[in-house]
Symmetry: C2
Subunit: 500 residues, 2 copies
């Protein structure tokens, strides 16, 4: 009798719903079903599913995608057979079951990024991930042509993480254009119906996340930001709208393996929310995201308390690199300098670095044990500044940042830490007895003094970080070694154990 | 009867002692007397004098200058008639009296420097003093020829303060030579008699202070330092020797108006002394110096507590300029960045800045409300590095620092403060509604955005801090003004009220 019920239940699913039968590990499994529900389906329907594999279960929320369609997305983290059962207050959506086969990840799919070794990151498959970020806050909302151009630029760039907003942005003279649609039903003029999301907006947004994933780029998704100033009002929605939006977005995009959460950009400039509001939003996020994506909040003037348990890493705006080692020590988390002024020539103090300085900041941050993020703000006749709109890159730092990325990818995966003492002038990334990466920045010293272990022989290379050359120094070195430098800025030295 | 005694007393003085009858205000008045005393005159004789002028008295200590000669030095701070009476446990030196006329200061004698307006400095005559320091730790002990050369270099330089040690110094390969004599009797080989100073040493030293005074240069006298490493042992003398040395030095040189006290260089690297030891030395200094010369202590890794009452200003070694405004706020004292790495090309991390960077640091520090100090460490075939030995300057920053000094000397004397917010990226020296000095450093912005008061009209000049040009911008400006810049680094902008 029970068997018969299950049989009929399966027929019912086949009639109304669609689910993949296969999904790659760390891919997006999607189940969908049409159902007519009374009332507002965005607010009246609770939908979730419990996925099971080898006795382990994961519960995720579903969402309403418009046109009577409900969806559940899930990122399986292990190959093999998975089953699932839905749960809903809508009878038609409740108790649906299904199964699919998860095939092992392959190709460039290394899984989601996690904190690793306290201060670093790695993909779920064990491959290390060294963040090399850039910033295009509102690139998604610049129209298909620009969006495609931005993706092409990113593909050719060294960047593997991009900071990007969900909501549209306005800022100064540089970005004032409207997105082609909005996240809620209604209009700027007549007001928004905050109880009804516009699925078109979110589908368009998440498609960009998927396309970034295809390029191997992490999407550092900024959930709230202050660059609204009442134009749309998305920076000052009621608390229950913020929370519903957050749950909705998590249900839609958490299954994309390349998602990072940035609760806000310049959180302290969002006047409508208190620290308690942010705390609550973080708790919702932590509860609703079953995958534990990297999660932080970018500061304006004031720091949010990075020691809170749901903060996985520091996302810092600063031009003070001196204390990166202190912050590592204090918070025991990775330090991302997610904004340290951009390469460009605009008049404001946050977008006017030379390429040399932008490159130098990447090296400084790296050799102090942090990770740095790029942005570009060159004046443009049509106001297409990479920092907000994407497009193409004009600056000279990305090539150099790419060169640094190659160097980062050759470092030992574990046991690497920055030199740290109270002077804190020297910038050295170290793995004891194996690896020493010295950065000399804007100094013009004619020699580098290395203090290497006495009992290991090292190969030494002089690195010109600007001209992107690596020049081996003849011989092997141990103990105190003096290496000649050309006496020009932007030099580095790498010493690697000869048998390493 | 009393009159007769006084008469005979005066005769006695005339026979045995010598005193000037005239002394310029803030000059050095010196009284000397030969006396044969039993025992060791350095330790057995207490000698002081009370100077009186218009009902006000000042007590100073005298000192033994060898060859039976005792001296008392005094810096009168007011023109007019002064009298004095000596006091001593040596009968022959006790109760001597005299008088002299203090003539008003003139010429380049502006008196000693004092803290003024909480964060700045001024001479006693009211002339502002903007410290523009350099560093020649052991220049005094390089022989007459080099000493004269150093003084000639200083005369042509922009510097008005020099950091210099009393004791000889050794450091790395760069300075290893011996002074021509030593501060104590005895020898390195056979040991020092710490109870007997060598007056020749101190006379030679104080002569250099006097010659600096003639050039209008403040002598920032470093009383202790760690660069001895057991070579002479002056960094680890017994506590009572340190204290006797301190009292002796104060008695000898405090009357020179251009003296500043730096209790130590890199105090925290002097392993032989605890914070309590330093506290006690400071209390002795504060008690024995009747003039209240500027007084501080330069740090290595750790800061001494600058809030202590005898610390008149911060003497900081750092490359972190970001917090200068915070330190001003916290300590309510002037902030001197007395070491921020030197212009040069040596391999160590403290002496390898380009001239651009050294100049840029001066501007940064200035526009953040501090004062900066120069040093130079270019490799030299005979190891004559300015930083320790003096000689001649090779670098390109001093000319630019001189250009900055001219700009500093045109700032309003009072009411000037640095812009300060939590971002703290912008560097602006401000006097409300009168004066705004913006520094743009290594940025390449194509325009400067000024936020000037709406109700005042300003003349604006673009300053190329490297090429040392001041270019007036046509017109007058108020409110939000955008000023074109060349898009190259090292630019500044000055806005001065048009009726100012």
């Amino acid at each position: 009798m029970a068997k018969s019920i299950i049989f009929w239940g399966q027929i019912l699913i086949a009639l109304h719903s669609f689910a993949q039968t296969e999904c790659m590990q760390w891919g997006v499994f999607e189940w969908s079903m049409n159902a007519s529900v009374s009332g507002n389906p965005f607010t009246s329907v609770d939908l979730s599913a419990q996925f099971a594999h080898n006795g382990r279960t994961v519960t995720v929320n579903g969402f309403y995608d418009g046109e009577s369609g409900f969806k559940i997305r899930f990122m399986p983290d292990a190959a093999g057979g998975w089953t699932f059962t839905t749960k809903s207050n809508a009878r038609e959506l409740n108790g649906k079951t299904g199964r699919f086969t998860c095939t092992p990840a392959g190709g460039d799919n290394h899984g989601p990024v996690r904190v690793r070794n306290t201060f670093d990151f790695g993909y779920a498959d064990g491959t290390p991930f060294y963040p090399v970020g850039t910033t295009c806050y509102a690139w998604v909302w610049q129209g298909d042509e620009r969006v495609n151009q931005t993706l092409e630029t990113l593909e050719e760039s060294p960047f593997n993480k991009i900071r990007m907003c969900v909501f549209p942005k306005q800022y100064d003279v540089y970005i004032q254009n409207e997105p082609f649609c909005y996240p809620f039903e209604g209009s700027k003029e007549d007001g928004w119906d905050f109880t009804r999301f516009n699925p078109v907006y979110f589908r368009y947004f998440e498609d960009k996340i998927a396309r970034l994933a295809d390029l191997g780029i992490e999407a550092d998704v900024i959930l709230f930001h202050p660059y609204d100033w009442g134009k749309w009002g998305f920076d000052s929605m009621p608390a229950e709208v913020n929370e519903r939006y957050l749950r909705y977005l998590v249900a839609r995009i958490a299954a994309y393996r390349n998602v990072w959460w940035s609760m806000a950009n310049e959180w302290d400039c969002v006047g409508s929310k208190t620290v308690k509001d942010w705390d609550r939003l973080f708790r919702i996020l932590a509860k609703k995201d079953p995958y534990g994506h990297p999660c932080s909040m970018h500061n304006g003037m004031k720091w949010y308390d990075h020691s809170k348990p749901y903060i996985t890493h520091l996302s810092v705006q600063t031009t003070d690199f001196f204390h990166i080692q202190d912050w590592r020590k204090a918070f025991q988390k990775p330090v991302l300098i997610d904004e340290c002024v951009y390469e460009g020539d605009i008049p404001t103090d946050w977008g006017n670095l030379s390429a040399e300085e932008m490159t130098g900041r990447f090296w400084q941050v790296t050799c102090r044990g942090g990770y740095c993020t790029h942005g570009e703000t060159y004046l443009h006749p049509e106001n297409v500044l990479w920092w907000s709109k994407g497009g193409v890159l004009h600056g000279q730092s990305p090539d150099r940042i790419g060169f640094l990325r190659l160097i980062m990818e050759k470092r030992p995966e574990e046991g690497v830490y920055p030199f740290h003492n109270l002077w804190n002038k020297e910038m050295i990334l170290i793995k004891d007895k194996e690896y020493y990466l010295y950065y000399y920045g804007y100094t013009q010293q004619k020699a580098a003094r290395l203090r290497l272990p006495e009992d290991v022989k090292f190969k030494v290379e002089v690195i010109d970080t600007w001209n992107m050359t690596l020049t081996p120094v003849e011989g092997l070195f141990s103990g105190n070694a003096e290496i000649r430098l050309p006496g020009t800025p932007w030099m580095a030295v790498r010493a690697v154990a000869a048998d390493g």
